[in-house]
């Protein structure tokens, strides 16, 4: 099952939207971060996105497309 959550980047200078995709495996060259490495703001948005599926601004988070976040599952950050 795939879980897709949209993080709406409404006002980022890069103007990008991000999704979190649940993944089962991680490529050896992937950048991987544990949830405890996220700053408070990013952590809050990450969980809000997972919990509510509501749209969020990605402004001010330090999530980069391609990075895998280790939480209760593994989630790959993807550009929309």
């Amino acid at each position: 099952m795939l879980l897709l959550v949209i993080l709406m980047a409404t006002t980022t200078s890069a103007g990008r939207s991000l999704t979190l995709r649940r993944v089962d495996t991680v490529a050896p060259n992937a950048a991987v971060r544990h949830i405890d490495q996220l700053d408070d703001r990013t952590l809050e948005r990450f969980y809000a996105a997972l919990e509510g599926g509501r749209q969020l601004t990605a402004t001010g988070t330090d999530l980069e497309p391609g990075t895998v976040i280790v939480a209760t599952d593994y989630y790959r950050v993807e550009a929309v």
């Binding site: 991680v26 060259n29 544990h34 809050e44 969980y47 895998v68 280790v70 209760t72 593994y74």
Partner: protein
Amino acid sequence: MTEYVIIGDGISGSSAAETLREEDPESSITVITDEGEALYNRILIKEHAKGKLPEAPISIHEEDWYAERDIELSLNTHVTGVDTDEKVVHTHEGDEIGYDKLLIATGGTPTQLPVDDSDAEGIHHFWTFQDARKIRESAEAAEKGVIVGAGLLGIDFAAVCGAQGVEGKYLMRGDRWWRYALSSEGAEIMHEGMREVGVEPVFDSGVDRFETDDGQVVAAIDPDGERHECDFAGVAIGLTFNTEYLGDIDLEQDNGIVVDQYMQTNLEDVYAAGDITRFYDVLLGEQAQNGSWGSAKEQGRIAGVNMAADDEAEEFEWVSSYSITHFDFPFLSFGHPTLGDDHAERKYSDTEWRRIAFKDGKVVGGVLIGDLAPQSKLKQLMREQRDVADQKEVLLEETVDLDDLAPPQEQ
């Protein structure tokens, strides 16, 4: 040109080195570590041991990273002594490395169980990447596991057993996991998580001795004489801080190295950062300890800033977090959940529970299970040091709304 020496290349030492290079571009910086590899992600090695994550993404710095920043990295080098009068560091190879300013960032080593055969094959402690590789290999081949140590590190062994299909028994001293921070209601959620991955909590238990066969562990015997068969054991009963090499220098220690909020020890030009410190916590108003990645990284940065400034330029003010990600529900502890003089807690469902610890009316820590949504607001209250212990109902609402709190009183 100032000569900085950093002992330890964990996240605190490495973050200090990075900061020092930025703040003092002309300086000489040496980082010494007794490990055989440069900084890696210690909080991801459990994922490797679980068999879920390959090795490569766990590395953080290649050796080039240091060379590019003109930082001298000494791998496989154990510091055996420090002479703070002569300002030199001694290594196991007999080298002497002089310094103007020294940072001690040597963390801790897992404490071994003081019982017979606690170093037999198949019995593991968990701190380094090397440990993780061995744990993975051993767990892959194991059928039955025993875990000792009912705290944040012990539960990683439970997760390894779960992920590697090892039938586990988690022997706990009291009647629940992490009894200093969780009540029975909160702990039961964690116990259920363990059971779901195939690890059975065993209460009022422990290990009296191990049984071995040809040097390999075959069973753990609990204080009642009950025998728990195992070919894998994980021991996580605490950390012993790596201070032995400091010998009898006049450094103030109190189960850790005592530092102020600037990471300064009582000795001139000697700083400490990371797990090893007992630091002055400006939010708590007393000395405290953190054992978490984010805190160690920030302490390293703060030490670097103040060492380079040769001044009290920035203080350490931090609310630490520590997550457990092994079960279907999330878990987060923040601040100092085991300290304080008052607390509030509530269970919301079979997988949701919250505890908030207060000291002198202020939030000083907490544990959230299942629903982490209130974490940022509770951390905010902790940072603001607001007097809120008389408004527990608001803080225990399923959705915390800070606007429902009475406005802060003017002092």
